[in-house]
């Protein structure tokens, strides 16, 4: 108990004092996971909408693959991204190994299927006749897609939260492709693992609390956007 209490106090001290090391790690985590989530949205929402709203042979297979991807173990993603960006690997010439970019790539691979899969579900839970009605009201193709997204904004924001939650909390891929290099690729989760290993429980707890607060803050913001103007 004493340990946890001390950890909480240390966390408070670190946050309030604005410890540059901790601040850097937090900011990097936010940038990497935020960036990966953003990229996943740019890809996942259009792909999810396309899979939900069109019919083509092999569509079920595609959806099944996306849904499987929603449960990709981060260490597996980390392994394959490592192999690809390894110095002698197919993408080794890019020199991405142990860079924040490599972590963004790995986290993108983790978050994109989550966001795609939840977008498919979000679109499919809309009344299928709504599309016809919107077309009948004179919506162009782009207007139609925009209106459908607006109709599905609640589950779509839930998709954003799930995607971000999936990557801000993962440790395996970040560790493997980022290397947990201090000042360069060390993020909140990898730092927590390291400090725990070293027996620095107070610092590890502090980092965990910061991670939780960060996750809470981001989700609170998204929830606020989601629930605006809504009375149960």
């Amino acid at each position: 108990m004493e340990l946890i209490w001390q950890g909480l106090l240390e966390a408070f001290r670190l946050i309030v004092s604005g410890d540059p090391g901790v601040f850097q790690i937090t900011w990097l985590s936010l940038q990497i996971s935020g960036g990966a989530t953003l990229l996943s949205l740019l890809v996942g929402i259009p792909v999810g909408m396309a899979l939900a709203l069109t019919r083509f042979p092999g569509r079920s297979l595609c959806i099944a693959l996306v849904n499987t991807g929603m449960g990709l173990p981060p260490v597996v993603v980390g392994l394959f991204v490592s192999i690809f960006v390894w110095r002698s690997g197919p993408l080794g010439f890019l020199g991405l190994l142990y860079t924040p970019t490599a972590i963004v790539v790995a986290q993108f691979i983790i978050a994109a299927p989550i966001i795609t899969g939840l977008t498919i579900a979000a679109m499919q839970q809309l009344n299928p006749r709504l599309r016809l009605q919107l077309q009948a009201l004179g919506a162009s193709r782009w207007q139609l897609l925009w209106l459908l997204m607006r109709e599905a904004r609640l589950p779509l924001l839930a998709a954003v939260m799930a995607g971000f939650g999936g990557v801000i909390s993962e440790v395996g891929a970040s560790m493997m492709v980022g290397g947990n290099i201090q000042g360069q690729t060390r993020v909140l989760t990898t730092a927590t693992v390291l400090e725990t290993g070293k027996g620095n429980f107070d610092l590890a707890i502090a980092l965990s609390v910061i991670l939780l607060v960060l996750t809470f803050a981001v989700n609170y913001l998204l929830t606020w956007i989601q629930q605006r103007g809504r009375t149960p």
């Binding site: 016809l132 009201l137 004179g138």
Partner: protein, 363 residues
Amino acid sequence: MTAPILEGLDLSVLYAGQRVLDVPRVEVQAGEVLAVIGPNGAGKSTLLRVLGLLEPPTSGEVRFRGQRVVWSGPDLLIARRRFATVFQEALLCDATVEANVALGLRLRRRPPGEVSTQVHTWLARLGIAHLAKREARTLSGGEAQRTSLARAFAIRPDVLLLDEPFAALDPPTRDELLTLLQGLLRQEGFTTVFVTHDRDEALRLGDRIAVMMEGRIPQVGAPSEVFGRPVTEEIARFVGVETILPGRVTGELSGLLTVKVNGMKIEALGAAAVGERVLVCLRPEDVVIRRLDGRVGLESARNHLEGRVEDATPLGAQYRVRIACGSPVIALVTKQSFEDLSLEHGTPVVVTFKASAVHLIRR
């Protein structure tokens, strides 16, 4: 007759090889309400989607103001934006009533001033001005359908398409909305295609009625014609003819035909040759019943058949009475006369109807 505003020519729609629509010609005149009636699954909604430019036919063409509709590209959107459709479900967006009514205009990028004027006009005319700021998902069925109608009217479409807009509403709400719509259509003169399976709705709104059966339109005409002179047995049944009896024309005297039906002699006005087999159609509201021992009424009627009451079904203000007179004849009797005549099972009665009330379908 002027050129129709909307025409369908040789329309055919196939779903998985199954022909669900087969209409050589259908026309909608400017300013008229064309009611399309028919049983469920007859292809009415498919026809509406094709005429509303929402679904291309498998073959055939739609002409709007004489121009053949191209089923792709920007021209389709331009043409479609002259139309508005209201479906059975209100299908509102998750936003306020006001925003929903504004939607069609916003999609057309009309100036905000115009949008606001139209929205307020139509909210008021549909009697939902007080709901303007309400979230659409909190509306009752009737309020939602009013919003959906306001959204369509606000566009001021050249052609308004209505696909069973009242089918999901409770009777009082439905009646209220029907009266409101009737008034609006009369005042505004919107060209309208109105699909319904309810013949009363069709009678109230339709200037012309098209009957759909199994993907085809076997009869189009004025309501009096479709309801009074249906061309097939199926249409007759659908438009409320309850007595349909097979018989044979046995005599003709200056337009008055004698038809022999299962031993009964029925006189009818119509066009059929002696010896021809026909179906005798009689609407229940045209049949009068008196007791066999009662005083004589409706002297001018040519047909008097004796029979016995077989059964009676109460229908609110009326009773549907089945009388066995050789073949069964169905009559509608007001509750008042049903009680005055003290009809019960087996009561001997005389059914009376005019020769002009009989419609003959030639076989």
